[in-house]
């Protein structure tokens, strides 16, 4: 199945990735090949099958509501590309 350039651009926007025109071109062809291959699944009748969203027969993993130590501020901010005191800084957002 082919994906239109418009759809590709929309996907790139949803995924917040800036793609160069060459990248869009290459991706278009590659994704088409993969999607054509994936379309194989349409051959199967899955109308009576339940989906497996969790492979383990496990339920109810819960944690007691008692506080633990948090990270100290140097550990929290240690990798921040931009910070101001104890805050993470991002470009100004206009609401």
């Amino acid at each position: 199945m082919a994906i239109s350039q418009e759809t590709l651009k929309h996907l790139a926007h949803l995924a917040r990735i800036e793609l160069k025109p060459e990248e869009l071109d290459t991706l278009s062809g590659q994704l088409k090949d993969v999607l054509d291959f994936i379309d194989k699944l349409k051959q199967l009748d899955t109308s009576k099958t339940t989906p497996t969203s969790h492979i383990l027969p496990m339920n109810n993993v819960l944690r007691k509501d008692s506080p633990d130590k948090s990270l100290d501020i140097t550990a929290t901010m240690g990798n921040a590309p931009q910070k101001d005191g104890d805050f993470f800084v991002v470009p100004k957002i206009i609401v």
């Binding site: 994906i3 759809t7 590709l8 996907l11 790139a12 949803l14 995924a15 917040r16 990735i17 800036e18 793609l19 160069k20 990248e23 290459t26 991706l27 590659q30 994704l31 090949d33 993969v34 999607l35 291959f37 994936i38 379309d39 194989k40 699944l41 349409k42 199967l44 899955t46 099958t49 339940t50 989906p51 497996t52 969203s53 969790h54 492979i55 383990l56 496990m58 993993v61 944690r63 990270l71 550990a75 929290t76 240690g78 990798n79 921040a80 590309p81 931009q82 993470f88 991002v90 470009p91 100004k92 957002i93």
Partner: protein, 481 residues
């Protein structure tokens, strides 16, 4: 004999006897790394890393033994970047649970981490920001992926033991290509806390080792329930070394017919058949079985894995860690920061998978792709359930071909994806699987034998693998690098 060429269980004995100390082992490793790395490139950031801390509990199961760690497992204070530009410089403020467990048993965590396909996206380690790793058996070939660095390091005696991760075969396939032992545990056997996620419902951390005994040793340490991981199963960990018995009498082996098909390398087919026959000599029985939905495993995987990946990788956005590329213009700054950072920071395969994953989850396509894939996953699991009702294990080749040349498949993603066909189903079904060396092609490339068992039956895998290994010599062969 150089210490770096030994297995962990051998070194443990020498250490206990006081014949050597841990520094001796590390020194031998570093000498080997110095001599070989320029050709193999199993490690990354070699120049930036400090020498490993040697202080350790003396009485741990792995005391004094160095372990190499794949670059997607968090090590506190040590750079962990999944071999991606977008996470450059990231120093996790915490250790993954498996690292804590290793440290508790006295293991020495090596500070250069091992090379991998960026974010574990790949089957060849060619998608690393740092460039490819070379197969020690033939430097023109790939070591497999995504844990190619770990596999190559162990194969080339640049590591004693290593950890990797397996989402669709990323431990087993490189183990096969590099002629070492690699295992993917049952999903939920080993904690994922601290493993930088690729596909949350498929990922598992597992061991690379020079022989089955070492693999069991490492599994003993890293396995077990972790309250930090809601997908970790509270089932007790047996002593896997108790399964190392040279006996497969009466073991029923299923050989799935769908795994021996056209397009398979004839040498691989022959070598694997010989291995199965050898097991028969020791008393195992085998029969042909069917896993009828095998041909759908790769498409199902590439829907589920990429969908989960597209979500797991959304956090790499320049806000709290890693690369941040700023906008050129003052307007629309945040949006541009996101898009440029991710455009600059992710490699081609990462972008491809994120786009595909975003597509299969998007409005209007979810039912036809993602939901349908979840249903076929059920069918694939049921295939295995049916076979394991009557058989103790399933044996297949680990890969349809031996290691391919660097550059051969990287430009054709679909071709690359198809090479995962034998390993992918185990991740979809959540079952454990091991790959052990079982021969060499005429070109001198290793061939891997894959053994699969039902959930939490790692003991069966160790038993069959150990029996085969003890009656052959493949695991003692060393590459001439």
């Amino acid at each position: 004999m150089e210490l770096n060429t030994q297995a962990a269980h051998q070194l443990s004995n020498l250490l206990k006897e006081g014949q050597i100390n841990s520094q001796d082992i590390v020194d031998a490793l570093y000498r080997r790394i110095k001599a070989t790395e320029s050709r193999v490139c199993a490690y990354v950031r070699l120049k930036d890393t400090s020498l490993p801390k040697l202080g350790y509990p003396q009485d741990g199961v792995l005391s004094g033994i160095p372990v190499a760690i794949k670059d997607n497992i968090c090590t506190e204070g040590l750079v962990t970047q999944c071999c991606s530009r977008i996470l450059e410089g990231f120093r996790p403020p915490y250790d993954a649970t498996v690292i804590r467990k290793l440290k508790k048993e006295g293991a020495v965590i090596l500070t250069p981490k091992t090379n991998m396909d960026e974010f574990a996206f790949g089957s060849s380690t060619e998608n690393s920001f740092f460039g490819p790793t070379h197969n020690p058996w033939d430097l023109r070939c790939v070591p497999g992926g995504s844990s190619g660095g770990s596999a190559a390091a162990v194969a080339a005696d640049e590591a004693i033991l290593a950890l990797g991760s397996d989402t669709g075969g990323s431990i087993r396939q490189p183990a096969a290509f590099c002629g070492v032992v690699g295992m993917k545990p049952t999903y939920g056997r080993v904690s994922r806390y601290g493993l930088i996620a690729f596909a949350s419902s498929l990922d598992q951390i597992g061991p690379f080792a020079k022989d089955v005994e070492d693999a069991a040793l490492l599994m003993n340490v890293i396995s077990g329930y972790d309250s930090n991981d809601s997908t970790s199963v509270n089932v007790s960990v047996p002593d896997y070394s108790m399964s190392l018995t040279n006996d497969v009498k009466g073991i029923k082996i299923g050989i799935p017919k769908e795994y021996f098909i056209e397009g398979m390398d004839p040498e691989v087919k022959k070598i694997v058949q010989e291995a199965i026959d050898k097991l028969k000599q020791f008393g195992a029985e085998y029969r042909e079985v069917s896993l009828p939905h095998t041909e759908y495993a790769v498409p199902v995987y590439y829907i589920i894995a990429t969908a989960e990946a597209s979500s797991n990788l959304a956090r790499f956005d320049g806000v709290q860690y890693g690369l941040r590329t700023l906008a050129n213009s003052p307007s629309g700054q945040l949006m541009e920061m996101y898009k440029k950072t991710r455009g600059d920071g992710f490699g081609a395969e990462a972008k491809r998978r994120i786009m595909l994953g975003t597509f299969v989850l998007s409005h209007g396509y979810y039912d036809a792709y993602y939901l349908r894939a979840l249903k076929v996953r059920t069918l694939i699991k049921q295939d295995f359930d049916k076979v394991f009702a009557d058989f103790d294990c399933i044996i297949t080749p680990t890969t349809p071909t031996p290691a391919f040349k660097i550059g051969e498949k990287v430009k054709d993603p679909l071709k690359m994806y198809l090479s995962d066909v034998y390993t992918i189903s185990a991740n979809l079904a959540g079952i454990p699987a091991i790959s052990i060396p079982c021969g060499f092609t005429k070109q001198g490339l290793p061939v891997g034998l894959q053994i699969l068992a039902k959930p939490f039956a790692e003991e069966m895998l160790f038993r069959v693998a150990y029996t085969y290994e003890q009656n052959t010599n493949w695991h003692t062969a060393k590459p001439k690098v």
